[in-house]
């Protein structure tokens, strides 16, 4: 077979918007609010999470502004505590957890599998409504005066010592949890039952594998979060005493329950992002993902091991030394599949034919930042090192490298990659590249100084700090300003592209996924006839062959 995979971009200048597509299929706001179409629900999610992202981002900006000076001068301590609590709650539960699965996953999983919709379209819509009901509870808690528990709701602080709207926020998160469970359930059933003929498990794109692994975590982990939040609410309202040592309860039990969800939640957040990166790297190097099965199984391995490492959040909390030993070992093991993925992505580039469009730049950013985020995780997994580093800015920097440097970069890579498919329009290439670079620089400037601060011992969640830490904090705040610009830019040029962007055409990147073989934006029913899959994922020779045929037959 000749290895010619010449990129033959379809003539985008002559491409036209398809007359009928999922966006103009029905009109009116109600047609969106009562839609069962997974693509429309994805767009609803996109608008919603963008809204919450900028709320969470505003809190982040205010936190960094306060930390510009060592003195507590911009706001009161209680206000500061509420800001970082709301920042965490909004960003994690209302942005990161739903980001890639609920937007990109919702939009793409059925199409990538060759299906017309998810298995349960109405439950999918219900997920979005639950997300908003939870979101409104959270906003209510915010408007009524906020919550200052931190996103971790640590007992007995949250149950006995605070008089803010803890229960309101807990109810909000409880409800959002169900949105997440339903999305996960929907994905699992869809992936099992609705694959097109010929779409075997090992022909699925890696994006599907990653979302499948994350869905399992959502379905099995989120109920435990729900339980722990219910217990907090009951302890707070009627004093059941499960976490109260004076009534024979155990305050540490809450943290075991909470982290049993919240550590897997980290993988819920990062795994779908890893799926995005696999797609993007493959497309722009025009090459099969190196070691497809290794990457697929590493997602599953992360999901599996991810359930057995929660105690590494509690190494200094007087847990048994020997259980700490076991959890540290498991933590080291869960780091290995991530390393495997990084090297597989790097070697996907080898012998490729690489171009550097915006999604690829974000993906490169992801690889660099996630490598740092992952390796600094090993610092924290190593027991003796964790004693010094935990609860300091080191841990703040670490999880922002993974969550923001990793997940947010992946999300932006995905949005830029699939934007032409979702909207049928292209954005300006030069300004989007600029945004990717600005984001990368701003991010590093914000969070690299925090590693140093952490090793110096600056505790997290401090409203005021000793003056010798100021230089690094000023650097960090300056970086955050740049980062803020980097995040505002896509909002502007993507919004602009909706009306003025060039028409994208079906397959602007010449990618192999099924979603690129249909019109952009797709029809409501995705496919006019259900495709029969006779090739592996990332088969660029198949694509070339197909394109050649189209040229000859269609002319």
């Amino acid at each position: 077979m000749s290895a010619h995979t010449i990129v033959n971009l379809p003539d985008q200048r002559t491409a036209t918007m398809p007359k009928r597509n999922y966006i103009n299929n029905e009109d009116g706001i109600l047609s969106w609010l009562f839609t069962g179409d997974h693509k429309r629900i994805a767009m609803l999610y996109l608008v919603s999470i963008t809204f919450f992202f900028f709320i969470g981002g505003a809190f982040a900006g205010l936190i960094r502004l306060e930390l510009l000076t060592p003195q507590p001068d911009l706001m009161a301590s209680d206000t500061y505590n509420k800001f970082f609590s709301m920042h965490g709650i909004v960003m994690i539960f209302l942005f990161l957890v739903p980001s890639v699965p609920a937007v990109l996953g919702n939009f793409l999983i059925p199409i990538m599998l060759g299906a017309k919709d998810l298995a349960f379209p109405k439950i999918n819509l219900l997920s979005w409504y639950l997300y908003w009901i939870g979101g409104l509870f959270t906003l209510t808690a915010l408007v009524l005066g906020g919550v200052d528990t931190g996103w971790t709701f640590t007992t007995p602080l949250s149950t006995h010592y605070l008089n803010t709207h803890v229960v309101t926020a807990a109810v909000g998160i409880f409800i959002i949890g169900f949105s997440s469970i339903f999305t996960g359930l929907n994905f699992i059933v869809t992936i099992h039952r609705m694959r097109a003929p010929g779409m075997t498990w090992f022909r699925m794109p890696l994006f599907i594998w990653a979302n499948y692994a994350a869905s399992i975590l959502m379905v099995l982990g989120t109920p435990v979060l729900a339980i722990s939040l219910v217990l907090v609410a009951l302890e707070r309202t009627i004093g059941i005493g499960v976490f109260d040592p004076t009534k024979g309860g155990d305050p540490l039990l809450f943290q075991h329950l909470f982290w049993f969800y919240s550590h897997p939640a980290v993988y819920i957040m990062i795994l779908p992002g890893m799926g995005v990166i696999s797609e993007v790297i493959s497309t722009f190097s025009r090459k099969r993902v190196f070691g497809y099965t290794a990457v697929a199984f590493s997602s599953v391995a992360i999901a599996l091991f991810g359930f057995f490492v929660w105690e590494h959040h509690m190494f200094i909390m007087g847990v048994s030394n020997y259980s700490a030993l076991v959890f540290s070992l498991l933590t080291m093991l869960v780091a290995v599949p991530s390393a495997i993925k990084i090297f597989n992505w790097a070697f996907t580039l080898q012998k490729g034919s690489i171009t550097f469009e915006t999604p690829m730049l974000y993906a490169f950013g992801f690889i660099g930042l996630f490598t740092v985020g992952g390796l600094t995780g090993v610092f924290l997994g190593a027991l003796g090192m964790d004693i010094h580093l935990t609860e300091t800015y080191f841990i703040v920097a670490h999880f922002h490298f993974v969550m923001v440097g990793g997940m947010l970069m992946a999300f932006l890579a995905g949005i830029h990659f699939w934007w032409p498919k979702m909207t049928g329009r292209m954005y300006s290439e030069s300004i989007s590249k600029l945004a990717a670079i600005v984001t990368f620089i701003g991010f590093n400037m914000t969070f690299l100084p925090q590693f140093i601060l952490g090793y110096l011992g600056m505790p997290r969640r401090y409203h005021a700090y000793p003056p010798e830490f100021q230089v690094l904090n000023v650097l960090s705040t300056a970086g955050a300003t740049i980062l803020g610009v980097g995040y505002m830019l896509p909002l502007l040029y993507l919004g602009w592209s909706l009306k003025y962007g060039a028409i994208a055409g079906d397959n602007p990147w010449q990618a192999t996924g099924l979603e690129w073989q249909i019109q952009s934006p797709p029809l409501t029913e995705n496919f006019t006839e259900i495709p029969v899959v006779d090739h592996d994922a990332y088969d660029y020779e198949w694509l070339e062959h197909k394109t050649a045929q189209e040229v000859t037959t269609v002319g």
Binding site: R288, F290, T293, L383
Partner: protein, 347 residues
């Protein structure tokens, strides 16, 4: 190039007063830093490796130079390489980290003990010799110091970054940490677990003194009564001595010499008596019935502060015979004068 002298002064002052690496002021710090540099090396080397691969391939195989991609399935050998090498490095980190952890959390037997009570939003240090400090801690160089810590309300965390030690301070449970300071000076104490409004002012200073200076400090700042003397008063005033009198017919078990012994409980299990056991037995007596005794002791939950419990624990620890218990008992029964004030304080 001229920089305004004012700006220059400002910059110099700023950089000099800012820190980039914490001081090493305990015997543990060099061990922690060694592991830190090992992990830092892995990180930097790993990052450079990934960067070289990504940028190398990106330049070598960019479309202009390599217009046609060559499809590669994968390579089991390479997969094995980048599974095994990271795994091996992580295993080294695991073992090294575990050794450090056990070093930090297993105090030497000769460590001097200081109690720390955390509460919103202050640290109270209680020295056995009767020195009480708030948001401050004085320790000597060259002597292992163990902190036995408990919280009166929410989770706190006691951290001394320059010693590289930290431990969560938990309500209802003693936790311990130890260190041996090496360099006299003043170092930060931080509360690192978010504990409410004034979390960021729950800070203090640990002052490390030469043994001679420390001796002077202990003599100059004692309150006059040691913790165990406070405990003895509490023991009498709470009426503990009426049952725990040490006589053969007493309703409660003999407490002299009980600390450190192995105790047979009525539910068949046996426990090593330590501070935590003594505290729990006072607060939850029904869960800790010594074999052969009836479960008649009432709970003292909510009646004694954590400071009081520490005093009682220290007293029971120091109790070697029941002579003074019975003395107190007879004195109170015969309504005579109180026993003579206990002797001088030994720090």
């Amino acid at each position: 190039m001229h920089i305004s002298p004012v700006l220059w002064q400002f910059l110099v002052k700023w950089l000099n007063s800012s820190a980039l690496f914490p001081r090493e002021a305990s015997t543990i710090a060099p061990y922690a830093d060694a592991l830190y540099f090992f992990l830092l090396t892995i990180t930097v080397v790993g990052l450079i490796l990934v960067a070289v691969l990504v940028f190398g391939f990106a330049i070598r195989y960019r479309k202009e130079r390599n217009p046609v991609a060559t499809q590669v399935e994968g390579s089991t050998l390479l997969e094995a390489t980048w599974t095994i090498i990271p795994l091996a490095l992580f295993m080294v980190a695991w073992i090294w980290g575990a050794l450090l952890y056990f070093r930090i959390y297993n105090p030497p037997t000769n460590a001097m003990n200081i109690y720390v009570v955390g509460k919103q939003w202050m640290w109270k240090a209680e020295h056995p010799g009767g020195q009480h400090e708030i948001n401050a801690l004085h320790v000597p160089t060259g002597r292992p110091v163990q902190l036995t810590m408990i919280s009166q309300d929410v989770f706190h965390s006691f951290s001394i970054p320059d010693f590289r030690v930290k431990r969560e301070v938990i309500p209802g449970r003693y936790t311990t940490v130890w260190f041996e300071a090496t360099t006299p000076g003043t170092y930060h104490i931080f509360c690192t677990q978010y504990c409410g409004t004034n979390h960021s002012v729950m800070i203090g200073d640990v002052t490390v003194l030469n043994p001679e200076d420390y001796q002077k400090w202990t003599q100059g700042s004692t309150s006059g009564t040691s913790l165990s003397q406070n405990g003895e008063r509490l023991f009498a005033s709470m009426g503990c001595n009426s049952c725990h009198s040490g006589s053969a017919a007493a309703r409660g078990p003999n407490l002299a010499g009980v600390y450190g012994s192995k105790l047979q409980l009525s539910n068949g299990s046996s426990v090593q008596v330590n501070e935590a056991y003594l505290r729990d037995a006072i607060l939850n007596p029904s869960q800790h019935i010594t074999a052969g005794y009836a479960p008649i002791m009432p709970t003292y939950q909510g009646q004694i502060s954590e400071d009081g419990l520490i005093d009682l624990v220290e007293y029971i620890k120091s109790l070697k015979s029941n002579y003074r218990v019975q003395q107190t008992l007879t004195t109170s029964q015969s309504n005579q004068a109180a026993p003579t004030t206990p002797g001088t304080v030994n720090p």
